[in-house]
């Protein structure tokens, strides 16, 4: 069962049971972005408030599996209050954590390793990469956030 426990680490189960930054923001002024994974029906709504280049607030609603829910909760905690440029960096890092290993699975050269220490709690999602079908669950919130930031640009 070791890889299962690797997938469902305590941090993940904790964020699943007690999601951070759950709720809505009035929009406007906040931006509301929807994400949807048609394959498994996971839905997410991200509310973003950016002021002076800083992501001052973020809230999330939606439903989905423990991976998509905890990933969105972990994401919100990681990006809230950060400058947008820094948020983009965090997103890029996280996506690489997911894709680097995807690439390894498909026999390509692994991407440069991600600095896991710098990722804090997010690193708990590392176990997902051993379950390629779940990667989409983990990245849903992140893709939705990216879409929101792109819209604000």
């Amino acid at each position: 069962m070791s890889s299962l426990e690797d997938l469902y680490r305590e941090v993940i189960l904790d964020h699943y049971r007690s999601p951070r930054n759950r709720g809505e923001l009035a929009s406007p002024p906040a931006l509301r972005v929807e994400g949807f994974n048609p394959l498994c029906g996971d839905e997410i709504v991200v509310y973003l408030e950016v002021r002076d280049g800083v992501l001052v607030d973020i809230k999330l609603t939606g439903h989905g599996c423990s991976i998509s829910q905890s990933s969105s909760s972990l994401m919100s905690a990681a990006v809230k209050g950060k400058p947008v440029s820094e948020v983009r960096g965090i997103i890029a890092n996280f996506k690489q954590l997911m894709t680097g290993v995807e690439a390894t699975l498909s026999d390509e050269k692994p991407a440069a390793p991600v600095d896991l220490r710098a990722m804090g709690e997010l690193a708990a999602l590392q176990g997902v990469v051993k379950f390629p079908v779940r990667i989409k669950c983990a990245t849903l919130a992140w893709n939705t956030l990216t879409q929101g930031l792109d819209e604000l640009d």
Binding site: L4, Y8, G41, C65, S66
Partner: protein, 417 residues
């Protein structure tokens, strides 16, 4: 298949031994396959029929004069005969059209028969428990010619709500219903509903994808007009489905896909369609697949469909009983709780555990169940669910499978607290 390969009295362990995939070991446990509603596992006889076909007889069918072409044609047309007799088609093989899957067959129904016979304001009556295959083609036809697609509601007891069926029948030209829900396991009263449809001057189509391998079929006795299913849910291969209708209806249907094989003549100015099932089988047909389907029919007949019904009813009863008693109400079955008019498809909703996670945990025990909306989103919405985790039985299933399922479910429930 030599008759010696047939089992005379039904024994699921024998079926198990015939099914190579059940030897798989997954995460150090024997596989517990509980996803037959998605796709069934073919027995060796089916796999070998296809292998033999490609090794010995493969050639394009029709118009061939040489020996292997004749043999390939005999395999292909022989499968048509087997299927006709399996469902007791009144007009025999001439009423059997091979498609690529049940879904294509529904598209054929909607876009050939439907496009010709339905006009704006005509109603196609389906139900809230239909698979997308029996919904989306009707929506597509609606875009084309303004028909109405009307839904029979589903009751809280997971059965069709027929209270207002008489008024629902207004302007209905076709009733198209699943014989068994792929989510709930509910078996619908097809024969009665077909009689009702006919009383209202409507035709009746059956989505038999879920029932075909799990109960005896007699389209003559059911007195329905269209009957659709897929080989891969009846121990056969992917890539072939069946569309049945009465010969008179088939003959009057306009062509669907165009190309070789479905014509009787082509000039630079136009074309004349062929007659019979060929008219709807454009291009090189699924010949190797027909070899597999023919063997699957023989194999199922060898098991005996009534034996399969009995066996699966027993498994279902046992599983429903244990699921109801073992989890302090945390595991809810989305479907009828008794085995009356109910098949071996068991959808689960577990408080606090997402179906995706259920399936993931179960996979660690080698248990194969399917999480998701099961291509029945209207039904999911009806019950306020995004997804379920679905376990389903086949003729090779044993109570031992339910044992492992329950062991693994306990683990999932504990894990997610």
């Amino acid at each position: 298949m030599a008759s010696g390969e047939l089992v005379s009295s039904f024994d699921p362990r024998r079926v198990r031994a015939d099914t190579p995939l059940l030897r798989r070991v997954i995460n150090e446990r024997s596989i517990t396959y509980l996803d037959s509603a998605s796709s069934s596992l073919p027995p060796r006889a089916v796999i070998e029929a296809m292998g033999r076909y490609y090794e010995m007889r493969h050639a394009n069918v029709h118009r061939g004069v040489y020996q292997t072409a004749n043999e390939a044609t005999a395999v292909y047309e022989g499968a048509r005969e087997s299927v006709a007799s399996f469902i007791n088609a009144p007009g025999g093989a001439n009423e059997i059209v091979f498609t690529k899957n049940a879904t294509e067959a529904f598209n054929l129904l909607a876009k050939s028969w439907g496009a010709k016979n339905l006009k704006a304001g005509d109603v196609v009556l389906v139900s809230e428990m239909e698979h997308h295959a029996n919904i989306v083609p009707w929506f597509q036809l609606r875009e084309l010619n303004g028909i109405e697609v009307r839904f029979i509601p589903v009751n809280d007891d997971y059965r069709l709500d027929l209270t207002n069926i008489e008024s629902l029948m207004e302007n209905v030209k076709l009733v198209s219903l699943t014989s068994m829900s792929n989510v709930l396991g509910t078996i619908n009263p097809i024969k009665d509903l077909a009689a009702l449809a006919h009383r209202h001057g409507a035709l009746f189509a059956v989505d038999a994808a879920q029932s075909i391998a799990h109960s005896p079929t007699d389209v003559t006795e059911l007195d329905v007009d269209f009957f659709i299913f897929s080989a891969h849910k009846m121990l056969g291969p992917t890539g072939i489905g069946v569309f049945w209708t009465r010969e008179a209806i088939l003959d009057a249907m306009p062509p669907f896909l165009g190309g070789g094989g479905m014509i009787s003549d082509v000039r630079t100015s136009g074309y004349t369609p062929a007659t019979g099932p060929s008219k709807f089988e454009a291009g090189t047909p699924p010949i190797g697949e027909a070899a597999g389907l023919g063997a699957a029919v023989l194999y199922l007949e060898g098991l005996g469909m009534t034996n399969i019904v009995e066996h699966e009813r027993h498994l279902t009863y046992d599983a429903l009983t244990r699921l109801a008693s073992e989890f302090d109400g945390r595991v809810r079955v989305i479907g009828p709780s008794d085995t009356h008019n109910r098949g071996g498809v068991i959808s689960l909703d577990i408080a606090g555990v997402h179906p995706h996670d259920v399936a993931q945990v179960l996979d660690q025990f080698g248990v194969c169940v399917r999480p998701g909306h099961h291509c029945a989103k209207p039904l999911m919405r009806r019950f306020g669910l995004a997804a379920t985790a679905r376990a389903s039985f086949g003729p090779y299933s044993l109570t031992r499978d339910t044992d492992v399922l329950i062991e693994a479910l306990h683990h999932a429930v504990t894990m997610f607290g």
